[in-house]
Symmetry: C2
Subunit: 116 residues, 2 copies
DNA sequence: TAAGAATACATCGAACTTCGAGGTATCGGG
DNA sequence: CCCGATACCTCGAAGTTCGATGTATTCTTA
């Protein structure tokens, strides 16, 4: 996920979202965008220019593998499937996300802190 | 904060952290970095190359104003203070962060969703 | 008292993420 | 027959952050 050490921001959240969606079963690109919209109550609307590079990157890094399978209607579809590596990465991302949330909330929440 | 509409990621979190820290009183750059480290249990370690451009940007956009004030030791310090605009921005950021968290958690948490 | 660590500011290029616009093609309905 | 939805893709522009580097001053410690 290319998160840099000690990076206070949480980038590549889109990549994590993709991994999480694939956990629920193999999916093709267009479907990922629709499902994300649905699962987030229309809050998240990932763009194709964002998604496809992410999928290609994940595949290049071995987090997912893909296969082509036409729909009933004969429409071309490329499905993506989590690899064991991808599952592990997702688990790590979840931990990192939880840690980030906790610390971020602590700072923006406004708890006091006495500096040495 | 330059967040783009419908952006599933939450960028510029560093900017939000800076605003939140300034809410606790005027602070100078180096102090912001130390306090952030402290308040986040050493999890966040903002780099100077990150912070100073952020502060300059916030000032240019009227979210903060600055003034110079030497320390007891005679060391040069530039303090930053939230403007009314900055306070409003921080409030908006908090709402956006809460909304993002909720939706992000919903997706990576794995709730089911039936697509139409 | 000299060296090095800490304080304090700043800028720059490289890397990464994301958008938005554009391109190609197929399928179904009006 | 056209248009909207489906389905894939690429490219350049914009924004964020790091890491390196630079400049000064003050404090600590050997």
């Amino acid at each position: 996920m290319a998160r840099r050490k000690n990076d206070p921001s949480f980038p590549a959240s889109n990549t994590m979202l993709v991994l999480a969606l694939l956990e629920g079963g193999d999916k093709y690109g267009y479907q990922i965008i629709r499902e994300l919209e649905c699962r987030s109550d229309r809050t998240f609307s990932m763009k194709e220019g964002t998604l496809y590079p992410i999928l290609h990157g994940l595949e290049a890094r071995g987090e997912v593998r893909s296969y082509e399978q036409a729909s009933d209607a004969g429409r071309r579809r490329r499905y993506y499937q989590l690899t064991r590596q991808g599952v592990k990465t997702l688990a790590r991302c979840r931990q990192e996300w939880a840690a980030f949330c906790k610390q971020f909330g602590k700072v923006v929440g406004g708890e006091a802190c006495v500096l040495g």
